[in-house]
Structure formats: structure tokens, C-alpha cells
């Protein structure tokens, strides 16, 4: 198994924040970098466990492929779904332009 980078860089923090769509100030980059480094340092302990022959567990469910009858049921009315929208246009959520 490859060893994870032990020292997280400021550039990586900026990259991760961008991936997560989190605005972040230069001061926060430094602060989060140091905090995340410390957390990741403790998480390195994961490698103490020998998992070479162990399958991964994504969820603990006993049941597989839970099905229901394919029938029409009442759903949330559009007005109820839209009433929390910060901005809307008729029966649509209104967003900023995706491209300038």
C-alpha cells in the first residue's frame, strides 16, 4: 500500500477547498493546513492494521436490493419544494450564470 503524503501542503489545501466549493482566506489556508496535518498524523495509525486479506465494508446492511411496487404515489407539490428557495422564477430555482 502506498504511504500517504505525510505533509499536506498549502497548495493541496487550496485544491481541496476548491474541490469542496469552500471559499477560504489565506489565513485559513495556513490554519487548516496545520490542523489537517495534525489530524492526518493521528490517522496514519490506520496503517498499523494488517488489512491485506480484509474486504472493505461500505455499509452494514443485511438487506439487499430493497424493492417496492412500482406505483404512483403523491409527491411533494412544487410550491412546497420551492418555498424555501432564496430566489426563484415562477416554478424554477433561480441561479447565477454558470458561465460569464
Amino acid at each position: 500500500m502506498p504511504e500517504p503524503e505525510s505533509e499536506l501542503s498549502s497548495r493541496e489545501v487550496e485544491h481541496v477547498a476548491r474541490l469542496a466549493r469552500l471559499g477560504i482566506t489565506p489565513e485559513e489556508v495556513t490554519r487548516y493546513r496545520d490542523q489537517l496535518r495534525n489530524i492526518l498524523h493521528h490517522i496514519e495509525a490506520l496503517n498499523r492494521a494488517d488489512t491485506s486479506k480484509v474486504p472493505a465494508t461500505a455499509h452494514p446492511l443485511e438487506e439487499r436490493n430493497v424493492m417496492r411496487e412500482d406505483r404512483r404515489e403523491p409527491s411533494l407539490p412544487a410550491e412546497a419544494a420551492l418555498r424555501n428557495a432564496p430566489s426563484r422564477d415562477d416554478s424554477y430555482f433561480k441561479v447565477k450564470a454558470i458561465q460569464e
Partner: protein
């Protein structure tokens, strides 16, 4: 004794005997909220009018003796991660400010069906991420036993409400200890059911493979009653189990005689307060005197549960919290020049520091190049933890240990050190990863602060955990201790 100091079962008897009405009871609890709410800050929202309306409806039901259930007319608090139709629900986050859900959580509907009374939404760490309630996006909660101490978290508002007489019982949610740890730190009973036992529909998600809703109560019997009301399959949550729900009260008082109880040696962790360890050892001896056989067992991968959790939970959270983009509900920053910039501003201003930390940690662990080393490895460790429990439960019926290595700490003591904060959950996290259930029951006071005994039982063995906890409670007086705040106003 004041009405707000009593248990569900005592009050149920008084209600059906017509000794009191639900409106009187609800008034008494709302009055206590008025008296001490500024001290505990347990609620984000008190739904006074809704509560009195529900209390009147419950009184109708009681008067007509129509479908009277154990929770009919009982005032209950709901952690703010639970959606209640048309009632502001924020998960303790600014990013959900102003959000009123168009539907209710299944557990909320179940309690409505029982005729329960909703007092309001209790404060919590933002999106249930925290162990002290200091990560609330609004304000911290204070422990009713000592106001300069934390109540634990993340269900700290629910815990403080029950411990201060601001609710008769409450619902919380537990992803890594968020019901059991605050229950321990406030001297009440809190149970995390097995994943799948209680529907998560309408629970604002933190980590979807770990989250469970559970009861927070004054004693074990109340916990059994409340669990009974919320457990069971729900077609709206495909992860809810179709296993039948046992009658938890039927076996509650069967005692521990002849039971085999295991003590995981790894649960006496470094950093545990000596007085906590002593109380746990005393509790184990007491259960032995009650007729249980005690043996030491090993859960060898306990030391890697915490690191695995701090990959898996943030990874799931980073994905779950992607939906908060200021488009469909909640806070929108405004001022972004385009959509992406608007997302970034909204999330920058709407999320608190701990939530951002975990989103970044989770995003990092899932990102290209690190997935195998972190996320996949953590999922494999999760398998090892499940196997540890399976092996232990071949030998014993239930496991005993502390809930938290320490009693409640002072506000501010750990806020500068995320890792120190994470260590609070070191003995509660394995039960979430291992797909088992756990309950915390009061087992003593250390310098006037409560601590909890944790009983862990196999998956879908809630009746076993409840039975052991009840046997301990029945032989002790710890659960009768009331916080100064609950007593002072008496």
C-alpha cells in the same frame, strides 16, 4: 416532586388517572424552560404554541380514553437535526437558517401518532459534528450540573434539556457517540440503536452509514418506551431493517443472573480519569453480584477505530453536505459573480470551522491518489472492527465499559485542539463502526459531575443492552440524582 422532574412512566400514570392534564404538565415544563433556559441554552427554538395545541389534543384523547399510548401527552424535545414540518430546522447550522422543512421525519410522525407533545428543537453541534456542543452555529450549551462545563455533544441540547427539567425526554442522533457521551456527561440515559433499527428519513444527514436516532431519558424504562415508539421498518428509508421489533419492556426486568458480560481490556484507555475507571470497575462488580459472570475480552482493533472513523465520517459528510449550495433552501450569500463563486461564498459564510475542517478532510481522503490509502483502508479497518465484536459476542452476551473517559470538561478547554476533542469519543465510536447497539446509564458522580456506564450489545440486541442497563439501574441510586438546575427551581 415537581412534574418536570418525573419520568415518562410516572407521568403517564398520572395522566391516565386524570390526576394531571397534559396542558398542566406541558405548562410546568415550559415554565421550567422560562426559568433556566437562559442558563443552559438547550433550545434553539421553543415551539410553545405547537406544544400547547398538541397537549390539548392529548387531553382530548385521554378524556375520551381513545387510543391512549405510553407517550400520549408527554412533552418531548427534538434535536434540531430532525425535520418537523413547518418548524424551523437548522441542524445547528447558519447555512440552514430560515429553513422550514415541507415534511416531517418518520420518528417525528411516529411520536405525533403516539400523541406526544413537541417542546421545540434542541441545540447541537453543527450538523452533529462535535463532542461538546461548542460547534453549534448559534451558541454553546451549558451543562445543568455545572454551567461552566460542556454538556457533551453533539446531542448536548437534548441532554441538557432532559437533565434540567426542560423536557421529560428527548430524541438525539448518534454517529460516533453523540447520544451516549452527552447522556453520560449530564447524568441521563441515552441509547444508540443498531444501524437500521430506526428510520433515518427526515434526519438531516451527517454520515449516512453511521447515523442513528435514539432516545435520551431519565431512566432505562423510559428509554425502552421511547425506542419502542420509534423503532421499525419504514418504506421511506431503504436502510431501515425489516426485522420485527421486540417488546422491549417484556424482558426489561429479567435481570442479569446467568448472563455473560465481557469487559474489553482496550476500553480502559490511556487518559481515562482514575475516578471514572474506579466507578466502572465498581459497576462491573455490582453486576457480578447481581449474578452475571464477568470475563475480560479483547477487541484488538479498538485503537484504529478512531482514525477509521475520522476518515469514513468526514468522507460521507463531505458528500452529504455538498447539497448546501444556497440554491434550493437555507442561506445564500449573494454577491458572487457566477454560480461557482456563489457556491463558494455561501459555503464559506454558512458553515462553521469544524464543519469546514471535516468537509476538507473528507474531500482529501476521497480525492484521487489518496482514496486507497485513506478511505479504502478505513473501510477495511471497519470490517476488522465488525469482526472483533462478532468474536467477542460468541463468548459474551454484552460488553461493559465507560461511555466517556472523563466527566464534563470546561467550556473552551478543547476548542483549540481538534484532535483532543475527537478523543472524547474513543470508546463510543467502535459501536457505530461495528454495527452494534449501545446504551449509557448513570454510574456515579466525580466531583459532582455525572459519568456513564456503557453497555454494548450485538446488532439488533437492544433488549439485551436495555436489560443489563436496567439491572444496574435497579440496584443503584445514581439515576435518581438530579442536576442542581433541576433541583434548584423546585
Amino acid at each position: 416532586m415537581k412534574l418536570y422532574q418525573r419520568t415518562i412512566r410516572e407521568l403517564h400514570q398520572m395522566l391516565i388517572d386524570r390526576e394531571i392534564s397534559s396542558v398542566e404538565l406541558t405548562d410546568a415544563v415550559l415554565n421550567q424552560i422560562d426559568l433556566v433556559g437562559d442558563k443552559t441554552k438547550a433550545y434553539l427554538l421553543v415551539t410553545r404554541e405547537l406544544a400547547l395545541r398538541q397537549a390539548q389534543a392529548a387531553d382530548e384523547r385521554l378524556r375520551a380514553k381513545r387510543d391512549v399510548r405510553p407517550l400520549t401527552g408527554i412533552p418531548i424535545a427534538l434535536k434540531d437535526v430532525l425535520c418537523v414540518r413547518d418548524v424551523a430546522s437548522t441542524a445547528g447550522s447558519k447555512i440552514l437558517g430560515g429553513f422550514t422543512p415541507p415534511y416531517s421525519a418518520t420518528v417525528v410522525e411516529r411520536l405525533e401518532g403516539e400523541g406526544a407533545v413537541f417542546l421545540g428543537k434542541t441545540n447541537c453541534d453543527e450538523f452533529a459534528m462535535g463532542s461538546s456542543n461548542e460547534n453549534s452555529g448559534y451558541w454553546p450549551v451549558h451543562n445543568p450540573w455545572s454551567l461552566d462545563r460542556v454538556p457533551g455533544g453533539s446531542s448536548g441540547g437534548s441532554a441538557a434539556a432532559v437533565a434540567s427539567g426542560e423536557a421529560i425526554a428527548a430524541l438525539g442522533s448518534d454517529t460516533g457517540g453523540s447520544i451516549r457521551q452527552p447522556a453520560a456527561l449530564t447524568g441521563i440515559v441515552g441509547m444508540k440503536p443498531t444501524y437500521g433499527r430506526v428510520s433515518r428519513y427526515g434526519l438531516i444527514a451527517f454520515a449516512s452509514s453511521l447515523d442513528q436516532i435514539g432516545p435520551m431519558t431519565r431512566d432505562v424504562a423510559d428509554g425502552a418506551l421511547l425506542l419502542q415508539a420509534i423503532a421499525g421498518n419504514d418504506p421511506r428509508d431503504s436502510t431501515s431493517s425489516s426485522r420485527p421489533v421486540p417488546d422491549y419492556l417484556a424482558t426489561l426486568t429479567d435481570g442479569v443472573k446467568g448472563m455473560r458480560l465481557g469487559v474489553p481490556k482496550e476500553y480502559f484507555v490511556a487518559g481515562m480519569e482514575p475516578a471514572v475507571e474506579q466507578s466502572i470497575r465498581d459497576a462491573i462488580r455490582l453486576l457480578e453480584q447481581q449474578g452475571a459472570s464477568i470475563e475480560e475480552v479483547s477487541l484488538p482493533h479498538s485503537d484504529v477505530a478512531l482514525p477509521a472513523y475520522y476518515i469514513i465520517a468526514p468522507a460521507e459528510a463531505s458528500s452529504n453536505l455538498a447539497r448546501y449550495d444556497g440554491t434550493r433552501y437555507g442561506f445564500q450569500a449573494g454577491g458572487g459573480r457566477n454560480l461557482i463563486e456563489e457556491y463558494m461564498l455561501t459555503r464559506q459564510q454558512g458553515f462553521g470551522a469544524e464543519v469546514k475542517r471535516r468537509i476538507m478532510l473528507g474531500t482529501y481522503a476521497l480525492s484521487s491518489g489518496y482514496y486507497d490509502a485513506y478511505y479504502l483502508q478505513a473501510q477495511k479497518v471497519r470490517t476488522l472492527i465488525i469482526e472483533d465484536f462478532k468474536k467477542a459476542f460468541e463468548k459474551v452476551d454484552a460488553l461493559l465499559g465507560a461511555t466517556s473517559p472523563t466527566a464534563a470538561f470546561e467550556l473552551g478547554a478543547k476548542t483549540q485542539d481538534p484532535v483532543a476533542m475527537y478523543l472524547n469519543d474513543i470508546i463510543t465510536i467502535p459501536a457505530n463502526l461495528g454495527n452494534v447497539c449501545g446504551i449509557s446509564v448513570p454510574c456515579g458522580l466525580v466531583d459532582g459531575l455525572p459519568i456513564g456506564l456503557q453497555v454494548i450489545a450485538p446488532g439488533f440486541g437492544e433488549e439485551v443492552a436495555l436489560r443489563v442497563a436496567y439491572a444496574f439501574e435497579a440496584a443503584t441510586e445514581f439515576h435518581r440524582a438530579r442536576s442542581p438546575l433541576m433541583g434548584a427551581a423546585a
